[in-house]
Subunit: 328 residues, 2 copies
């Protein structure tokens, strides 16, 4: 089952069920007005949403929409909690070497995770408004999952069952602020503007055998201004999402609708498959030639993030958006 | 005007207007069901809430409640964003010296701020469930403000007008996790369980002349198991709340209902006035005698946080709560 949210002027948008081929959609009227509401009563709403998805797959429905022409919000336009990890070790280790961070010997045993702003996400095709090019604008292509309520102390073994939906994220970053904010130990505020998510969030069964051990075993495809930038495989995630959820829930409950991110997808052979963020390419350049060559994004630049199934179909639809000045 | 929220089994509770003396309350039925809803349309709801507060001050109202017997949620049981600063420099500098953090020369020019979980706050008299005593359970007595929507790029000069309500916070911390998580640069996840807030949130005018330059110029009174622990004056805040809001809004919009915290209240003469968290007292002990003497909290321990007006009346009511095992 694939779900999406249409912009309608409200803060939470309107929930729609989307056909597997991403061509058609129908409002979930009478089941749940919003995805957040659906997640808060998932046991009741999920079977009814699946029935609607089944009807949609069997033929034309009254009130059906052309999904390609829809004005899309992210699946959750806002939610109560957004926790993003850095679970691809090849990325973390490269960044530590290149930018001379203190080495974290716990990286392989304890997930790195920051808390992001969850109140104001950007739609997959919406412009991303940012204060200044000088801040070092970067994209970060990631996987993310949405959970139902996870009680404090939930184990990794039990956490997997709380994964209700999977999607892609563009966890945009302002790199000029990243290291100064890391040095405070308090995490990122200026360095992390609003995050964007893919057109649809899909239940794990839509991934078939690509969903294994809390990981999505497929490449994430990233292009920048129409040119391929990277296609690292998300199978390389150093922790599964179940482990990230258990980490997040150690001393807190996670509300239904909490989003957990993987961090920038990265592979050991990044020189071959490319990268899912500019900072990683710059780190490779520093290792190879002593200094970074690739500049960060300019206003007007566009990033595209997508993941294809074995049959070539787009699983989540594409994030495809421009960076623009906040004042425009 | 003073506002509070009653527990009623729902996630956002029921909004009530409270008399200035904290004895009586009345539901804001017909104006706004919840404080979050009131904040999302503050221009419309505030005058009507003030009218109700005015009526309450002039005599008995139908449906009036005994506020002292009410089952209290925090003013916002959950909200979209919670950003907490560390704006008292005497605290930050002492902690850096005692725990040998790298010195942050930017501390006086750039607020320290972390993003906390905002989805699951604890009521002022509710038990705070935590995983283990061994985590180093600490209280942190703070001031906090609630804003309406703050657009990205709002200046400090304009930010002051966005402060709609003021309250107290117990930003409980698990100290065993604090320094390891700071070393990652990603900020705190395990170290920051759910935060608790005072019985009422008050409009700034309730503070009279004590509200100046984005600061509350009154001591915060902290006791631990019935014994006074500290009474530092919140006037010493190194940045005003308007400066903290502008910092928070550099690269993001802040949704209506965003809470901004001051960080642990602290004064230069902490040896005289005491501290608003245990970690600060331990740091003083390390400076004075080479090692910390005061242990962190045990399950069953109680902390009380309150602020009195010049006439001796409690402004926000008291946070007065126990730390308990999460499994109980």
């Amino acid at each position: 089952m694939k779900l999406a949210t249409l912009r309608d002027g409200s803060s939470d948008g309107v929930l729609v069920v989307v056909s597997t081929d991403l061509r058609r959609a129908v409002k979930a009227t009478g089941i749940a007005d919003t995805l957040l509401a659906a997640l808060e009563s998932w046991d009741r709403s999920e079977p009814r949403l699946r029935d609607l998805a089944d009807s949609l797959s069997h033929g034309r429905l009254e009130g059906e929409l052309d999904f390609a022409r829809a004005s899309l919000a992210p699946p959750l336009p806002r939610t109560w909690q957004w926790l993003d990890a850095s679970a691809f070790h090849s990325h973390g280790e490269l960044m530590q070497r290149a930018f001379k961070h203190a080495y974290l010997d716990t990286m392989h045993t304890r997930p790195l995770m920051y808390q992001g702003g969850s109140d104001d996400f950007v739609g997959p095709h919406e412009d991303m408004p940012l204060p200044a090019e000088a801040d070092g604008i970067d994209f970060e292509a990631e996987l993310a999952v949405i959970v139902d309520r996870v009680p404090m102390g939930t184990s990794a073994a039990k956490a997997l069952g709380h994964v209700k939906l999977v999607m892609l994220a563009n966890d945009a970053s302002l790199r000029s602020h990243a290291v100064p904010e890391m040095k405070t130990g308090f995490g990122w505020i200026h360095a992390k503007p609003a995050t964007s998510f893919s057109p649809v969030a899909a239940t794990p069964d839509e991934l078939g055998t690509a969903w294994q051990n809390g990981r999505v075993r497929l490449p994430i495809r990233v292009s920048w201004n129409g040119k391929e930038f990277g296609r690292p495989d998300a199978a390389a995630m150093g922790f599964g999402f179940h482990e990230l959820i258990a980490h997040a829930a150690y001393s807190r409950n996670l509300s239904a609708g909490t989003i957990i991110g993987s961090g920038t997808v990265s592979n050991e052979n990044y020189r071959v498959v490319g990268s899912a963020c500019i900072a990683e390419r710059r780190a490779i350049e520093i290792e190879d030639g002593g200094h970074a060559v690739t500049e960060y994004m300019r206003f007007g630049d566009r990033v595209r993030i997508e993941m294809l199934a074995a049959d070539g179909g787009s699983i989540f639809g594409a994030i495809d958006q421009r960076m623009v000045p906040a004042s425009s």
